[in-house]
Symmetry: D2
Subunit: 426 residues, 4 copies
């Protein structure tokens, strides 16, 4: 069995130790930029507002939140000159390598962490080996630390290869809130991409497996509702309150009860809720942050329509006002066979890859679909590639971890596919 | 019409500007202590751990929260030597004035604020006149700023009077979470009190009204429940989650549906709820901070038993674990006629008091009942006195305010009653 | 201890064996009429449409239901000539005894049973002694069999007494659905009543107790809601349904959660619900039969307003139509002291009455309040009298029963009070 | 365009006029038996207990219900000697036609109606043309009247053909409650069947379409729960009740909220609910008749496990007992390609069939799967054939109807396929 590239492993662990949620990837972006500058002779490196279309960012947190994480990144030793370019939550980067005539190939990797506590028991490798999250309450629980690392590794590998053409690696922020994909798809950098690869590790596939083309992305939309009622003393005048928490609880109960749909998979989750201020005050305020998904955009919209109605009626029932905030959303997309075949062929000949599946269904959502659709609409092709990894806990859980040889597999397969694209499109 | 005492008004406004919730009354206690030391020639002044039985504090927040408010008090200019005595959330004070032979009279005033935002529109007097809360998210929305001020005023007035006996004023922390009454009742200071007065402004009575004896305190108990489920990717594997927010919403719906009771008033409020971490994660965690009340302790316990069962079954339904935290609680109590008559007589002869009611029902809860019951069990008598005030918004709402002449009415009636107690018990 | 009057006991048992719910009291009315005609020399006996104001009947069942019970009464041997006068659900009777100059005294007794199964175990006296309900699914579970019997007994007793004045006994149908009181109050027979007595046995008071004046009637209103959605095949097209049962369940959950009110007792009950047609059809139809109550009419209306809103919003949430049917309702009322004192005095001197309470609170509802208010508005006085009885099960439960000596106590106290009224108002 | 066979149309209308729900198909069976005896020279005709394995019947209604429908069938003029053989709810028949050496082919048609009201407006053909249901509250809303008619037509047609082999037509009762399939699969008649065809009309396919092999049967299970609480007077002692309707409503809310499953389609429906006895009694009793489905048996069991837990916890929450009744269930199944190809070929050459689909997914459930699996386990093959029909309302709705030319299409395709099977298996 191969040993993972020690450089890439330490980069991945460095990123793992500093997980930053959506639009707060200050330390992450600065680290990646510094790493790229020192390791690869790039032709262009677009950072922050130069990498993304800022107006198309979705689900950006408020200034206080951004400032807290910015400060944290500085205290952790991020390069201040890079940091300054990211101010205001303009994170991410696009690295460009021009290697002569040939096709323009894009690789999209996402870089953000999740707002969840990481496990701290000895069975959890990051805890045992000392690279557990140092940002309490945040965690790389979906492998984006590995994705970003693979992006760096691919650049390095391709730079040393005979590839002829242009390689662009998109280090995309804010995937977990489906907030960054659109802003990257709407930047100019995507316009000339002929072939787009995106990558994800794990997805319940073990180390040594590669899925050449993943489909079955659920369309997704975020939905945030704020209920406003009327406070009252809970002992003295309960009848004078208009109870926003009762409205919220009624909504939650009925959101999960929206009928299943015969035409395909649907999803609903009231992922974050809160309400009220004190035990003895009838709650005047409550909030639901939900998401709906559908196997097609129509199914997602079926869910959204019903969810909106449920929330509106629940508010009305308890005489509360409700305001909706239009959340981030992403469409569905499919992998093109031309590119899937190239990836499958390359993977079959890659050392340590024991099994290649041509296709699989994701059953989740991804805002890589914005970039895939953009490329496809421009006449290019796209594929979403899975690199198996033995992950002890499920995605988004506190014991998720990446089996590190996976990083090399990703670099091998993707760099190999990029070279092959160059060969086939002289 | 009388003009309020300008000294007391500025003290009340100073306290109003710095509302501090339960066990965080650092600035408040320090200010009161400094004020008392400069204005009244006290015989004893017990502060913080010397004023209360620390072990009997209920609903104390965690250290980080205490540290934040401690720091805030210091930054606001609180006397550091006093502050140090309060460290760890030992707030409150007991002031003693010995004026010769005679009965020992206690006066209990509470001093804490509420965790709610104060109104900021020009109709709200504190906003218009520049003493709106400077502690964002906290507010004196129940008049405890006036109560504490009345306590100082009464000490001052009695010190100048012919009263013969001992006066003890209990500046009690943490009433809003019913967390401080017991710790004051269990301190030694209450043991020799023969007559105990407690006071509250407002309660839907206008300026100029006095209620000599308030009854109808609802027994109350806080109940906190933490639900723990299992997270999962909401798109990819919803079936692998165990949804703590669904459990919580089911509980909330059914808590409010606990049957009314034929034997008297009951109350339930799920005052604070929260759960989940991100829109795309099945929520593994949720929390309810609730309170139950009853016209008698039995009725409160009926509610508590049912609430516990509802929460436990809701957790089980969604395959979640649940942990309960024993919350603060307070019994019911009644005002003794002997003392009610004295207060009513004095009030009838007090300038600017236009209407005296002998009795009224509170319909809320109060941990003054711990002190009242303690005195009554020791053979003393107690009364809970209401001083009317025109309050624009209801108690606990963002537009609550005190009509300031009320402060003088309180001082007049209570100091008058104390002198009268001395006269009647030579 | 006295032995109960055997004639009255067998009449009560005869009525008990044939319980008939609201407006279906065909056998009951016919039996009472036949009994009165054979036992008392009445001056007038108004039956069915002559006894009540038919237009003011509330909650009358449909014709098929009336026809079924009418037929059942005929099969059970009810006098056909009397039966014919009751056709269409015009049940009840008013018996008049004129005994010279003097006041007109009314006595109101109710005669209907409840739609519930009676217990059939050997501990239940009616089962053991062979007079358990022969109308399956119906039961005298609230003692109206005893009330009607007391009405007959009082007429008999007063007819033999020296009473001077007029006695009218109102045998009122449909109390359990609060549907009959108004129709009797709106008939002419009540207009000249100076003193009105109403009677109820039990109410958690043991045999030997008498309550001279019961108050605390809750105002009550019935509320019936029909939800109409859209059916669909539950397996094939769940998304095409509009689920009336989901709407109904949401409504039920939130009806019980209407906030308690500080100003007094409130009640809510979704007493009958149903919906759907088959396991594999998304339910297109559902129904709630509910009632709301309040210590005052205002409190009842507070509940009704909220209940209506809850139901309307629940329907809207699930895209269902909803229709409300205005249900029966009754106001609150109080017993007049003049009459309470007479009853209390008489009761104190009645054999076997061991304890007399002047007042108690009912905490339930009663449409006797329509008659009481009518008399009071005409300048008369009214009292609602309780006659204790040891009842093994609670009111409205399957093991409720009347301890039969109670019947004599009722006759003694009420006939005695009527004679006393005559004496005091010559 | 062809005109439908008038004989078959009148048979279908006769059946439509007398829809009978599961196990109550007395008139239907008797009519089919009489019709077959007069039209086809059968070799065997097994009726009632001789057609099915009586012990394997599921979801049989109680005796009173059976007796009511039996009587209704007699009054409608069903042949009494046939009726007697069906007593006790043993309905259905198996007709056998022996036509020399060759394979044994089975055709399964279902014959029961649904417990729902039929539309009565002029747009609804059965109403307009006078064959609307005369059994109020029951309706052929799923086309089984057409299925049974097709069964008769196929027997007639094959009898006149050159088919060599044996044909058995299974007229199966109680499909709608998935209660009859197993009892037919467990009878001896299925044992020698080599080829099994089942048929369904409609399924959202228009007249002129044929689907040669339907898959995607959802496994299904019925689940019935009875909640038992404690009654109490809703006004007087609400706290003494244990409210079965609250438990039921809580269960319904949470049943629909069971998480969707990533591995495939799931379904839940609380199709019939009821509870309580009167508006003023806290409901002591409630009932849910539900069904769960899954794309696989495992998914169905996932739903059933969760549903059971939800119901159990809801009962516990409201201190009610709950009893479950094991309902009927059916597995999933797939159509064999060998038979699908034969049907597709025959259909392509059938007049008036404009479009043939080889495969489609049902997305519903069917207890034909019991017979299909039995045949497949014995080494035979099976296919479930769809015959398109323009149906104005959805399946199971009040405006469902069959476009009658469909009947001939079904006879043509199925009889043709049977002859072809004979030809291919000499």
């Amino acid at each position: 069995m191969s040993r993972p590239d020690p450089d890439l492993v330490s980069l991945r662990r460095e990123l793992h130790r500093r997980p930053e949620p959506a639009w707060r990837e200050f330390y992450t972006t600065a680290t990646l930029v510094a790493e790229l500058e020192s390791r690869v002779d790039l032709d262009e490196l677009h950072v922050g507002p130069d990498a993304i279309a800022g107006d198309h960012r979705m689900a950006v947190p408020d200034e206080a939140e951004l400032a807290t994480w910015y400060e944290r990144a500085r205290e952790a030793g991020a390069d201040e000159t890079i940091l300054e370019r990211l101010e205001g939550g303009y994170t991410g980067a696009v690295a460009v390598l021009e290697m002569g005539d040939g096709p323009t190939v894009g690789l999209r990797v996402d870089i953000d962490g999740l707002p969840r506590e990481e496990a701290d028991d000895p069975d959890h490798v990051p805890a045992a080996e000392g690279f557990r999250s140092e940002n309490e309450g945040a965690m790389h629980a979906c492998g984006h630390d590995a994705h970003a690392t693979i992006g760096v590794g691919v650049l390095e590998r391709v730079a040393e290869s005979d590839f002829s053409g242009t390689l662009k690696v998109f280090f995309q922020p804010a995937e977990e809130v489906i907030g960054g994909g659109k802003s990257m798809a709407k930047s100019d950098h995507i316009d000339d991409v002929d072939y787009l690869l995106a990558v994800h590790v794990g997805l319940d596939h073990p180390t040594g497996e590669v899925i050449a083309g993943i489909d079955g992305f659920l369309a997704v939309s975020h939905l945030e509702a704020e209920f406003t009622g009327e406070p009252a003393h809970a002992g003295g005048h309960p009848e004078q309150g208009r109870n926003a928490v009762q409205a919220m609880a009624t909504a939650v109960q009925n959101l999960y009860g929206i009928p299943r749909h015969d035409e395909g998979a649907t999803r609903i989750n009231a992922g974050v809720v809160e309400g009220g201020s004190a035990a003895n005050i009838i709650p005047e305020h409550a909030r639901i942050v939900a998401e709906v998904r559908g196997e097609t955009t129509e199914l997602m919209e079926y869910m959204r329509t019903h969810a909106t109605q449920v929330i509106r009626s629940a508010a009305e029932m308890h005489d509360c006002a409700v305001e909706f905030e239009t959340g981030a959303e992403a469409p569905s997309a499919t992998s093109d066979q031309e590119l899937v075949s190239i990836v499958a062929d390359v993977a079959s000949e890659t050392a340590d890859v024991e099994r290649v599946l041509e296709r699989d269904e994701l059953g989740g959502s991804e805002d890589a679909t914005f970039l895939m659709r953009e490329v496809q609409q421009n006449g290019g092709v796209a594929a979403y590639v899975g690199i198996g990894t033995n992950h002890p806990g499920g995605h988004h859980t506190s014991t998720f971890d990446v089996d590190e040889p996976t990083i090399d597999h990703g670099v091998d397969v993707l760099a190999g596919a990029i070279e092959q694209i160059g060969l086939e499109n002289p």
